[in-house]
């Protein structure tokens, strides 16, 4: 029983790290533009699929990962320029629908490029499982955890210690005031989309050796990332990370002890409960107005 629990925890934290990275992307974009980007999951899918395609084309794994991430950043910037910028000032419902449209569009592009087949990347450092206190851990899980920790620390440092990071934070508090003190809000918006696309792509590449990837792979991951951001209190980057880990662990425990078929229902039931009882999320600002 304790070993089993430990095993589920390991699985949950691995998946949760992924949700955390996707949720972090949601929070970044929300901070900069008050838009929830429903195409975030498609960044994850594009990163994974592009890396796999490049690797199959003969690129070394590391290079394939970098190029795939850069390509996805490019897609994020294009999305911002051609779908978000023209619709500045649109209502929440409109922006939700625009980004859903973008998600379907990107899925359509992936379908044309790669068909409906499933693909996987080889593990970064072999697939000999490591025994850890009764639980088996795939080396790839350690990669996921390690890279997530580094990325989260980097994003934190970016917000707390660098000028662009602080400028982005200023935009999230008050865009007009940020503009007034000389921050180029448009550039900040692009920065947020680029960063968040990059984070999504990296998440996709990290998980590609564990789960198979296909043109549809981003849908559920995107929704879980959105859930992570909501549970953590939308617009709170570290809240999104905590929300992602919580969601991952809960889902793994639910799948292990209750029913694996109902694991998505358990995850979303938890999100609904959080919304009903803590409508601003577990770690949100209590006073923040949500409109």
């Amino acid at each position: 029983m304790p070993e089993q629990l430990f095993q589920f925890l390991v699985t949950g934290i691995t998946v949760g790290s992924l949700y955390a990275l996707v949720g972090l992307g949601f929070a970044l974009i929300y901070n900069a533009s008050d838009v929830v980007n429903f195409a975030q999951g498609e960044f994850v899918m594009l990163g994974a699929m592009a890396a796999i395609a490049l690797q199959n084309a003969g690129f070394p794994l590391f290079l394939a990962a970098i190029v795939a991430t850069l390509l996805t950043v490019g897609v994020g910037l294009l999305l911002e320029r051609f779908a978000i910028e023209p619709a500045v000032g649109a209502s929440v419902v409109s922006t939700i629908i625009i980004t859903i449209g973008a998600a379907i569009f990107l899925r359509g592009v992936a379908l044309l490029l790669w068909g409906k087949d499933f693909y996987a990347l080889p593990p970064f450092s072999g697939d000999t499982p490591i025994q850890l206190g009764g639980a088996t851990v795939l080396p790839q899980s350690l990669w996921v955890l390690g890279v997530t920790v580094v990325l989260v620390l980097l994003v934190r440092a970016f917000f707390n210690r660098t000028l662009p990071g602080k400028a982005l934070l200023a935009c999230s508090y008050n865009r007009v005031a940020a503009q007034a003190v000389g921050i180029n809000v448009k550039v900040m918006l692009r920065l947020a989309y680029g960063l968040s696309a990059g984070l999504g792509a990296l998440a996709g590449i990290l998980i590609a050796p564990i789960t198979f990837s296909s043109y549809e792979a981003g849908v559920m991951l995107g929704l879980k990332g959105f859930s992570a951001a909501i549970v953590g209190g939308i617009g709170n980057p570290m809240g999104a990370v905590a929300g992602g880990l919580l969601l991952g662990v809960l889902e793994a425990l639910g799948a292990g002890f209750i029913s694996s078929g109902y694991k998505d229902a358990i995850a979303f039931l938890f999100v609904l409960m959080v919304l009903f009882f803590e409508p601003t999320g577990l770690f949100g600002h209590k006073s923040a107005e949500r409109v």
Binding site: G101, L112, Y262, F268, L275, F276
Partner: protein, 322 residues
């Protein structure tokens, strides 16, 4: 006069099978378009008029369908009774969930309705002993209306057209009633609406319940017409498609929703040939309409026609001065 548009629409719907007898396209695609119209008109009350998004509306569509399917196959209920039970169940569930869900706004509401839709879909897939699981339920008897067994494409076209016209008529009247005005006030500003003495929570709940009942109505008809249901017809993609219909036609216009539903049905039929491109075009269309014509095709084109008309009139007037 207020319902002139409705009478014209009803006449067109009635004349189509007369003008094109034995036309597969009219009866089969028309039936599917009719169901979509019911769904879109109901959802439009919520999204278009009350301004509350729902990304999980396929759940109510599925609830109606599965209520009819389960009650009429496993418990041998008469189909009409099963249909009514589905409507009541959808109304009750919507009423129970409305308060906690509609208290949320914007993105939080989107999340909650999304979650609701996904949970409903998971239950349809997993509760195998009731729903038949991923394989679905087959052998659903056709609708029996007080002794008349609906049979054949043309009869189904008639039944669904009548149901659709009823829903459109109800919606047109509802929107023009006190409830409809209250809904629009809530959309404009919830705070101001409350200042005017409108019970905003109650108004939003009413819109949610009515749209859920309409969706269940479409679901029940769908189940009896297809004689088969499976979870695939009620997943997230369907919820998004329903929102697309409402947005495509034009928010806060019943005929906008009608146009959106018909346009998307025709588009899906047309795109069957380009199967692989369907998703790409669907996504691009959604983005383009929302960016360039946020008020939707129907409303946008009507306004453009008005503008064109007045520009022409003005230039004519100017020429007459010269």
């Amino acid at each position: 006069m207020r319902l002139a548009g409705f009478y014209i629409f009803a006449a067109v719907v009635a004349l189509l099978p007369v003008l094109f007898p034995d036309n597969y396209f009219v009866v089969v695609v028309g039936t599917s378009a009719g169901l979509h119209v019911i769904l879109a008109v109901g959802l439009n009350l919520l999204i278009g008029y009350a301004g509350q998004i729902s990304l999980g509306h396929a759940a109510f569509f599925g609830l109606g369908a599965y209520a009819s399917a389960i009650l009429s196959t496993r418990f041998d209920w008469p189909s009409l009774l099963a249909l009514v039970a589905g409507l009541i169940a959808a109304g009750l569930i919507a009423w129970v969930f409305a308060r906690p869900i509609l208290r949320l706004r914007g993105h939080y509401l989107a999340m909650a309705t999304l979650g609701f839709g996904i949970i409903a879909h998971v239950i349809m897939v997993q509760a195998t002993q009731w729903t038949g699981g991923p394989d679905g339920l087959a052998g659903i008897p056709p609708l029996n209306l007080l002794g008349w067994q609906v049979d054949g494409d043309l009869q189904w076209y008639g039944v669904i057209a009548a149901a659709m016209l009823l829903v459109v008529w109800l919606s047109l009247n509802l929107v023009d009633s006190q409830v409809g005005r209250a809904l629009r006030a809530v959309h404009g500003s919830e705070f101001a609406a409350r200042m005017m003495g409108i019970d905003t929570a109650r108004t939003k709940t009413q819109a949610f319940v009515v749209s859920a009942v309409f969706a269940a109505f479409a679901g029940s008809l769908f189940a009896h017409q297809q004689a088969f249901v499976s979870p695939d017809s009620f997943n997230l993609t369907v919820s998004v498609e329903l929102v697309t219909m409402v947005v495509l036609g034009g928010l806060a216009s019943t005929f906008g929703a009608v146009c959106g539903a018909i346009a998307l049905t025709l588009l899906q039929q047309g795109l069957v040939v380009f199967e692989d491109y369907e998703m790409l075009i669907h996504g691009a269309l959604l983005m383009a309409v929302m960016i360039f014509m946020p008020q939707g095709l129907f409303v946008g084109l009507t306004q453009a026609a008005h503008r064109l008309g007045s520009t022409l009139a003005r230039s004519k007037f100017r020429r007459s001065l010269d």
